[in-house]
């Protein structure tokens, strides 16, 4: 098999993803954070609820779970590995920067999907009915890819200090949650809020989850899926391009 060929690099990306899962994801604190962080945010809003129905909030919980888990660890992997010099090991192996980034994306996508399935089960246990299962499945797969690309995009600044990246990551992620129709329905948002919501991929995922559970939606389903697909493609291409440029600066 040609090591520089597409399939050769895909196998290597899968090896990197397995390594990431083993080292960074299957860790008690990471798993606990992945489940509890969105759950506590959900409970906070449930208790202070302004007559928002449970089905609305559960959809938001699913959206948050996927968004937070798929972007939880991936931004810090490059800085960690840069600090530990294991990134230099990868860079000296016959693997492209794109394959390294893609491997990290696969790991965060799988982690995001795994945790999100738990929140979907929570929703079902709480009595919600899944109206459009296939749509939910497609939305989770697509959004997990999209959010993992965002996670990798956050790791682009060539610093090997993980706390710098995590701070930047939080600064971007938390505001995004509040403009994406998770706690405030899009219908109730002011015009400026709605304008911002258009630029958040989380908006479209939350809308799809809401459609899957309640059969209501703000945007047409096809528009949601198209928007997510476009964001996924755009973030993936941009993150790979930028990482290729910044990788040597980490060494």
């Amino acid at each position: 098999m040609n090591p520089a060929g597409f399939s050769g690099q895909m196998w290597r990306a899968w090896a990197i993803a397995k390594k990431d899962i083993r080292i960074y994801y299957i860790k008690g604190p990471v798993l606990i954070f992945g489940v509890f962080m969105p759950l506590f945010l959900f409970l906070a809003f449930l208790m202070g609820s302004r007559q928002l129905p449970l089905s609305f909030l559960i959809s938001g919980l699913v959206g948050m779970s996927l968004f937070f888990t798929a972007t939880a660890v991936s931004p810090a992997i490059f800085p960690w590995e840069g600090q530990a010099k294991t990134l230099e090991r990868l860079a000296s192996c016959p693997v492209t920067v794109e394959a390294i980034v893609f491997g990290d994306m696969i790991a965060s996508t799988l982690f995001g999907i795994g945790i999100t399935v738990i929140t979907v089960i929570i929703g079902l246990v709480l009595g919600l009915t899944l109206v459009h299962g296939i749509t939910l499945l497609a939305a989770i797969l697509l959004a997990a890819c999209c959010f993992s690309a965002i996670g990798m995009l956050l790791a682009v600044p060539p610093t090997n200090v993980p706390s710098n990246i995590m701070m930047l990551s939080s600064l971007i992620k938390f505001p995004l949650v509040f403009i994406s129709g998770i706690f405030i329905p899009l219908e109730q948002m002011p015009a400026w809020g709605l304008a911002l919501a258009f630029f958040s991929p989380l908006t479209y995922f939350t809308d799809l989850v809401r459609y899957a559970f309640t059969d209501t939606h703000y945007f047409p389903v096809l528009a949601d899926i198209t928007a997510l697909a476009v964001f996924t493609l755009m973030f993936s291409v941009v993150t790979m391009f930028l990482h290729k440029r910044t990788m040597p600066k980490r060494m």
Partner: protein, 309 residues
Amino acid sequence: MTAVIHASDLTKIFGKSTAVDHISFDVREGEIFGFLGPNGAGKTTTTRMLTGVIPPDAGTAMILGYNIRSEPVLAKQEFGVVPETSNAYTDLTAWQNLMLMGELYGLPRARAERRSSDLLGMVGLLERKDQKVQAYSKGMKQRLILAMALIHEPGLLFLDEPTSGLDVQSTQMILSLLRDLNTQGTTIFLTTHNMEEANRLCHRVGIIRGGKMVAIDAPEKLKTAIDRVHKIEVSFDHEVSADALAGLDGVIDANRSGDKWQITAENRDAAIRSLVTFSRQNGASIVTLNTLAPSLDEAFLRLTQEVQS
């Protein structure tokens, strides 16, 4: 011999500082090439450019016939790297690290397992293969990293300070492994501070100073080349006169030192031949005869200071 590494005008600039300044050299197939230089001379930067970790700002490097910039994956597939700092995954076991390397080099699982077992046995870590690397000593980590670099049986091995800070046992094991690998045909590019190590191991050494290559040659030739005059120490089984020795062809001066004579010669070969002829003609048997070449340390210091001054 064909060149497995062909560096041409390699240059790397960091900000306003030129770390590596248009260096060119070849490393021949089957040799151990020592890359020497003081701290900050540009050794690691050069190694990183040769291994495709960082791109050069100018110049090219052909590794085993592949251009490291335009065909990095194909080039990297053919060589192994032992970087300056330990970089195995400490949260993985030695076995998991090797299997990861096997996957990154595209080895079939069965071959990766066989190679991992062989290599762990070779570096004395087989019994601790399932232990996480974080519990390993520095020497054990370095041996593991050498094993990781060899998983795909590369024809070329880059090592950056592989024995730096290691205990005697690990150092000897690594040097012995390198000799064995070279005997089996592996070309070795070795960056080191250790002159004794380079002297004993390398067929040729290149000395870099301030980003410029100041000398490339066999260690013995480098040692002798730095002095225009040579010292020979000789002793005879009975007394000979200083004047008789000083008048010999090729000899500049003869000074007594205990029971020996220190001969200063312009041409070492001619001086030794004259001494042997003198011995035969005068019935004075030679008891000892040593050529006093400067050490590689002296050659290194002389060469690097010349550039500095």
